[in-house]
Amino acid sequence: MEWDFTAAFSNIDLLLLGLLNTLKVTGLALCLGIPLGLVLALTRLTHLRPLSLLAAFIIEFFRTTPPLVQLFWFFFAFPILFDINMTAFTAAIVTFSIQSSAFFAEIFRSGIQSIDHGQWEGAKAIGMTRQQSLKRVILPQAVKRMIPAFMERSIELLKTTTLVSTIAYTDLMYQANDLAQKTFRPLEVYSVVALIYFMLIFSVSQLSILIERRLARSGEGTVH
């Protein structure tokens, strides 16, 4: 067996384009998934029973079904059902935003619930409404505790985006499949791509460990 990396290295621009698309999907899904997660968490925490049950159902459904099944559903079934056009990119964004929002919702919920009840009462005592106390008193404290869990989830999302290659969106994984087939060098191409993913995700997780330590030093508890 002889290693020959020329095929992988001379096409590195294609792989980097794929990497860029991977980051694009991850970034957009995060931007949409986090606010959606907050909405889901707040709905789950309301005292209106039907609303809170509905939110709980959505969260549980998207947490217990495999992301690949969700992606296929949004790509193959959803467009026929609602008679709209859906590119691989839109299907990916929709799937991963909703999927990660279900996980983010649980992080928000445990963060909000970890704040001592006295804080709510204190805010109420000085005349704040529920919304005001949430925005000015509870969330600022809760979000700080949630940061490590957020980072962990974002790393998971980054890894999950490889699934978009199965519906032919040109992310890093798709480019790798394409290149491996065209150059007949799957060993080198897939090894290089595994290394690219490793370096990217490893640096992000090291960063998150650093942030977690910094938070621990400032005396903040964390939630998971």
Binding site: M1, F61, T64, T65, F76, A77, I80, S205
Partner: protein, 222 residues
């Protein structure tokens, strides 16, 4: 939304889905067994003081935790045979990819469990003349395992969902079978909805059980 749902073809083809579910269950049992037992060994290695043992374990954990599972499965399917000359079937490639990933994740869970035990327990074991192995088996692990049980069951649920990735290398599991039905009968809506429902029906009770388990364990700690 005036689509006419028609689950008749799905029900007619229930055997195809059943074969798929059996494939999913087989993949899950093999990967969870290999991943969680192998992860135990790596987790203990990671805890040991000797750098000669701890370092390879750390490298293993970091590598397999930080590479997406799909990349690992595809690597084992297309690249591994060229490197070693060993043919990997879709089943073997998926088992290797998913179990190595699970080993890395569960190793960290076991390590956290062992580390959460007070050092005095180790000293007490040593004081009454137990070897490292004996202390680990008789004193540390019974308590540590109880503490990490919720984390392990959560990992197990993730592994169950991960089994769908095996469909990418054409291993016969639930999603792969749904794809087949969808292509043959032109009913992607019903087929993929059916898979989503199958997973939900199987996993939802398990998730609820883990919540109950966590509550019971918490109460036991008090």
């Amino acid at each position: 939304m005036d689509y006419n749902w028609d689950f008749a073809t799905i029900i007619q083809n229930w055997r195809v889905f059943w074969t798929g579910l059996q494939g999913t269950l087989l993949m899950f049992s093999v990967t969870v067994a290999l991943g969680m037992s192998g992860g135990f060994i790596v987790g203990v290695m990671r805890y040991l003081k000797s750098p000669l043992i701890a370092w390879p374990a750390r490298a293993f954990v970091e590598f397999f935790r930080n590479v997406p599972v799909l990349v690992q499965i595809v690597w084992f399917y297309y690249a591994f045979p060229i490197l070693t000359g060993i043919e990997t079937s879709p089943f073997l490639a998926a088992v290797l990819g998913i179990s190595l990933n699970t080993m890395a994740f569960s190793a960290e869970i076991y390590r956290a469990g062992i580390q959460s035990i007070d050092a005095g327990q180790w000293e007490a074991g040593k004081a009454i003349g137990m070897s490292f192995q004996q202390t680990l088996r008789r004193i540390i692990m019974p308590v540590a395992l109880k503490r990490v049980l919720p984390a392990l069951t959560n990992r197990g649920i993730e592994v169950f969902k991960m089994s769908t990735l095996a469909s990418v290398v054409a291993y016969v599991e639930t999603l792969n079978q749904a794809k087949l039905i969808a292509d043959l009968n032109y009913n992607p809506i019903e087929s993929y909805t059916a898979v989503a429902l199958i997973f939900f029906v199987v996993l939802f009770p398990v998730v609820q059980a883990t919540y109950a388990l966590e509550r019971v364990l918490k109460r036991g700690d008090r």
